[in-house]
């Protein structure tokens, strides 16, 4: 019941913060958010799961009780962690306190609401990664969107209303598509619950039957495509990515941090769980288009980042690019590919969180994010800037930082992968060109904003960033480096959890 306790505590914290006065809502939220963080560390320390949650592995902290009986099915409250979900839970619980601290400076109105929403979102995020019954999972999945809608809509930039509604409608539309796909799948199976493990194992046992005259193969394929399309929006993959830059640009810094850091991972996490673990055959059959989409996401996203003048937009598009690697790794169906993709989720969560936070620190001081409005910031706010530089290099995949580990595993895993009619080396090599483009746009942006003679067009006095703004950055950087040097902290459990996925794939 530890997971339930964590989720419940976070919900209650959210309520408490909502009712707290604005003056100390931020501090209270930070203090309360440390509890889930410590809790996640406790989960990590006591983690005793093995194998993959969906394929019958040993679950850690499992709870399974019946909830609702409907239509001959039983909906359960079913949570548990395996090597894939635990790192993401830890990531979430780690990022939230930092995001809260990063909100202390920029959020100056309706603070209790702001922090309450953040905690509400955290509770749901933990739920998303822990839930193993479809409906329980889906409740959390959808509930994450609400706080983000408000975070963008209320505390966002000038076009926040447009961005918020776009984010909201777009991602919900995707959820519906995915929902229908999953329902069609479940109803073609002789299962009695919506438990993800049961569904997975039933499919693996070849029990996918025809459904109202539609042959099983078609059902499998259609479900796969529907779910893939649904999750691709969340990831996001080209061409369903356009909500992301708008959402990121308008969102306040802490919301961006969580959006890029955790919310995007929901998409890839779900892809891994649903598409690639449940329907490996269909995934393998569609490997060529999926890999092609991944490559397009990487290159096209990076090209878009190259064209931007807004620092946040640059990082936002580069998220599109980075998530392309994750897809590439997933479709590879190798331990390094799938495991690397999972690791990359965590790594990218930390790194993009750092980047958004650092851009936020700059924005707090300069009140602009336009590359053209400033230069030479390194002279005035060295600590923040050099951490930003370090983050940028992490983004570029500098070795001994977490990003390199993730990307390298993905590359190793996908290069030699037998899927996609042996075309994976080509796809991998093409996708790898992303590491050049990412270096290009980040270096250009840094050169223009951080270095050179000091200039700021917005006429704000610039001083060193306060410690409460730089400390979260430093914490993230430390985490990135630690994971880069010792990826096995997570990768070991991830690997164990992805082996069954890989074995389910066509190899």
């Amino acid at each position: 019941m530890i997971i339930e306790a964590l989720i419940a505590f976070t919900f209650v914290s959210a309520m408490a913060v909502l009712l707290a006065p604005d003056e100390w809502a931020g501090r209270l939220a930070f203090a309360l958010s440390l509890v889930p963080f410590l809790g996640s560390l406790f989960l990590w320390a006591r983690f005793d799961g093995s194998g993959n949650a969906l394929t019958g592995g040993e679950l850690a902290f499992e709870t399974q009780i019946d909830w609702i009986d409907v239509g001959g099915y039983t909906i359960q409250w079913f949570v548990g962690l395996d090597g894939i979900s635990l790192p993401l839970v830890v990531l979430t619980a780690f990022l939230v306190p930092l995001a809260i601290v990063s909100a202390w400076t920029p959020i100056d109105e309706r603070q209790s609401q702001f922090y309450g929403l953040i905690l509400f979102m955290e509770a749901n995020l933990i739920g998303v990664f822990a839930a193993l019954d479809f409906f329980a999972w889906f409740v959390f999945w959808e509930a994450v969107l609400l706080p983000m809608y408000f975070l963008i809509g209320v505390w966002g930039g000038p076009r926040r209303k447009y961005a918020a509604i776009k984010f909201f409608v777009y991602t919900n539309a995707a959820s519906l598509v995915m929902f229908l796909g999953f329902m069609a799948l479940v109803f073609s199976l002789p299962v009695e619950t919506f438990g993800l493990p049961e569904v997975t194992q039933s499919i693996a046992a070849g029990e996918l039957g025809s459904f109202y005259g539609i042959p099983a193969e078609t059902i499998g394929l259609v479900s796969f495509v529907a779910m893939f399309a649904g999750f691709a929006v969340k990831v996001p993959m080209v061409p369903v990515h356009t909500w992301l830059p708008d959402a990121h640009v308008e969102a306040p810094t802490p919301a961006s941090v969580l959006l890029a850091g955790v919310l995007l991972k929901m998409g890839t996490y779900a892809l891994l769980r649903f598409n690639f673990t449940m329907l490996p055959e269909q995934a393998s059959a569609l490997a060529v288009p999926i890999a092609a989409l991944a490559v397009i996401s990487v290159i096209y996203g990076a090209m878009l980042a190259l064209a931007q003048q807004d620092l946040k937009r640059i990082v936002a598009y580069s998220s599109v690019s980075s998530m392309g690697y994750v897809i590439l790794g997933l479709i590879a169906f190798t331990v390094y590919g799938v495991g690397g993709a999972t690791f990359q989720m965590v790594a990218h969560g930390l790194i993009s969180g750092l980047m958004f936070m650092a851009v936020g620190v700059i924005y707090n001081a300069t009140h602009t994010r336009m590359v053209t409005d400033m230069s030479g910031l390194a002279d005035r706010m060295p600590v923040a800037v050099w951490i930003l530089v370090a983050g940028a290099f992490a983004y570029m995949g500098l070795p001994l930082m977490a990003g390199f580990a993730g990307e390298f595993y993905v590359f190793v895993g996908s290069f030699g992968s037998p899927v996609a009619n042996g075309l994976m080396p080509v796809f991998t090599a093409l996708a790898m060109f992303g590491i050049v483009i990412v270096a290009g746009y980040l270096l250009f942006a840094m050169q223009r904003t951080l270095f050179g003679p000091f200039r700021l067009d917005t006429d704000y006095e610039l001083g060193r960033a306060p410690r409460r703004e730089t400390l979260p950055l430093a914490a993230l950087l430390v985490a990135i480096i630690v994971l880069g040097i010792a990826p096995d902290l997570f990768f070991e459990m991830i690997r164990e959890a992805v082996v069954p996925v890989v074995e389910g794939g066509v190899n």
Binding site: D69, G71, V139, A143, L146, N172, A173, L180, F187
Partner: protein, 521 residues
């Protein structure tokens, strides 16, 4: 065969046991309906005895208590399994003119809930109004008609009950006699209602002509061999569908709805769009499953699930698309109510002869109407509150309400998101179970269209939320100077219920599904 004839003795075990262990007498199955009727009469009596009271608190309390008693009774019966297969099946009374089963009790409960909420909320809405007495009695009597409608199992009873609902409703809509909107709405409601009831009763007459009976089970029996009367029966069935469409505000008889919901006093809008609609669905569910068995009907070319499928698609699409472009919140809710009728119609559309999951689909639809009873009523009651403040009606006028009335705005946000089908609110499960049920029964395209509409609905529901929380407050908000306690209470209760029903969805859907499955039994 006369209509009023004591029924053959049914297994009395179907009724809850008395304290001594013996079952209650059979007529007690009518308890919920009788409670409403009695309350209505009591209200009239009270108003007669104290005609010039300046306060309507007592009336409100009486109406609410009466509704709660009804709710308690129907809840008790539901929990005890009255009229359910497990305890011996449906209880039929008066030569099968009335059937008390899970469906009837379930919808009675919905009606009772809405009535209670509306009664409480009206206490503040009708403050300083001259003649509150008739308002409450009309509401409660209409509710009694709705409860009867849900229990009616003869076409005659159905028509009578339908009129019992309609006639008070016309009066309620036009209740604000000095208000041009209210009067215009009343006029339109009445005229369209009159035409539809004429069409409906003509449809009944054609069905009677074809089958020679008004009792649903006998109609069903005759449906097996209609021979060349299939055409007559078919036209009759479609015309009856027209009548149901009126009650449920579905295409093609939805035209009254936007104006009525907009023009009527907001509590009445809440009442009509939640309870009246639910009652319409209740009777439609019963009539079509019991009187026109799918297999027989389809065999003679009366493919009514197809008709409902077409209507469902048209209704949800029309409702949602039109709602998306409204400028006034109340009218938007009116269209959204049409859209939800479209979703609920899936419960009749996604059925197939011998479909193993018919019960699941219809049950999901019932559960949706149940949740809808809370969230939609709550939303209209919020409008009532805003109307009582005198803030304008458009989205712009709602800007920043969250900053001056946070609790109510939170509640409204809950309603909006729940209507949009988002967690963690009840509307989420009900809508998704509905879609799942449709997919389950092979009507994936219906679910897909529902999903598309759902996306659109997200847009306009979130516009309200946006206005409440995201837009900057305007000067108009200084009008918000009161805290109408009863209205607040009703809204908050509805909101809490909307939230609580998500984790507690099990009993709701299980009851609804059992009730629906029994119909297909």
């Amino acid at each position: 065969m006369s209509i009023i004839q004591s029924s053959t003795l049914e297994p009395l075990a179907a009724l809850p046991a008395q304290t001594g262990g013996a079952p209650l007498p059979e007529w007690t199955a009518l308890g919920p309906i009788l409670a409403l009727v009695a309350t209505g009469l009591l209200l009239l009596g009270w108003d007669t005895v104290f005609p010039n009271r300046r306060t309507n608190t007592e009336l409100s309390v009486i109406a609410a208590v009466g509704a709660l008693v009804t709710l308690a009774l129907s809840g008790w019966y539901l929990a005890a399994g009255t009229g359910r297969p497990a305890t011996g099946g449906a209880i039929t009374l008066f030569a099968e003119a009335i059937t008390i089963d899970g469906l009837a009790l379930f919808f009675t409960a919905i009606v009772a809930v809405v009535t209670a909420l509306v009664a409480v909320a009206s206490r503040d809405y009708l403050d300083d109004h001259e003649t509150p007495g008739e308002f409450y009695s009309l509401v409660v009597l209409a509710a009694a008609g709705m409860a009867l409608l849900a229990s009616a199992s003869s076409l005659a009873t159905i028509f009578v009950a339908l009129e019992m609902v309609s006639l008070p409703s016309y009066a309620l809509v036009a209740y604000l006699k000095e208000d041009r909107g209210s009067v215009e709405a009343g006029m339109k409601y009445f005229l369209v209602g009159a035409v539809s009831s004429a069409i409906f009763v003509f449809g009944i007459s054609l069905v009677y002509a074809a089958t020679g009976s008004l009792v649903l089970s006998d109609v069903a029996a005759a449906f097996g061999d209609l021979d060349d009367l299939a055409g007559v029966a078919g036209v009759g069935v479609v015309m009856m569908i027209g009548g149901f469409a009126f009650k449920t505000a579905s295409v093609p008889v939805h035209f009254w709805a936007p104006e009525v919901y907009e023009g009527a006093p907001a509590p009445v809008s809440a009442f009509l769009s939640s309870a009246s609609k639910a009652a319409g669905f209740a009777v439609a569910f019963r009539v079509f499953t019991e009187a026109f068995p799918i297999a027989d009907a389809v065999a003679v070319g009366i493919d009514w699930p197809l008709v409902f499928a077409v209507l469902a698609v048209l209704t949800m699409t029309l409702g949602n698309f039109a709602a998306a472009v409204q400028t006034e919140v109340k009218r938007m809710l009116a269209y959204s109510s049409i859209g939800h009728a479209g979703y609920a119609l899936i419960g009749l559309a996604a059925l197939s002869a011998g479909g193993s999951h018919n019960g699941a689909v219809m049950g999901a639809s019932m559960a949706h109407l149940f949740v809808y009873g809370f969230m939609n009523t709550g939303a209209f009651l919020f409008i009532a509150m805003v109307e009582s403040w005198g803030v304008g009606r458009t989205f712009e006028d709602y800007a920043g309400l969250g900053s001056v009335a946070p609790m109510a705005s939170v509640a409204m946000t809950v309603f909006m998101f729940s209507l949009a089908g988002l967690p963690p609110f009840g509307g989420f499960f009900s809508k998704y179970f509905l879609f799942a049920g449709a997919v389950f029964n092979g009507f994936w395209w219906l679910a897909a269209i529902g999903a598309l509409n759902s996306v659109l609905s997200l847009y306009y529901y979130s516009r309200v939320v946006k206005a409440l929380w995201i837009e900057e407050p305007t000067d108009a908000l200084s009008a918000v100077d009161s805290r109408p306690t009863a209205l607040y209470g009703a809204v908050i209760v509805a909101a809490v219920a909307t939230v609580v029903v998500l984790p507690g969805f099990g009993p709701v859907i299980e009851t609804a599904e059992a009730a629906a499955t029994a119909l297909f039994g």
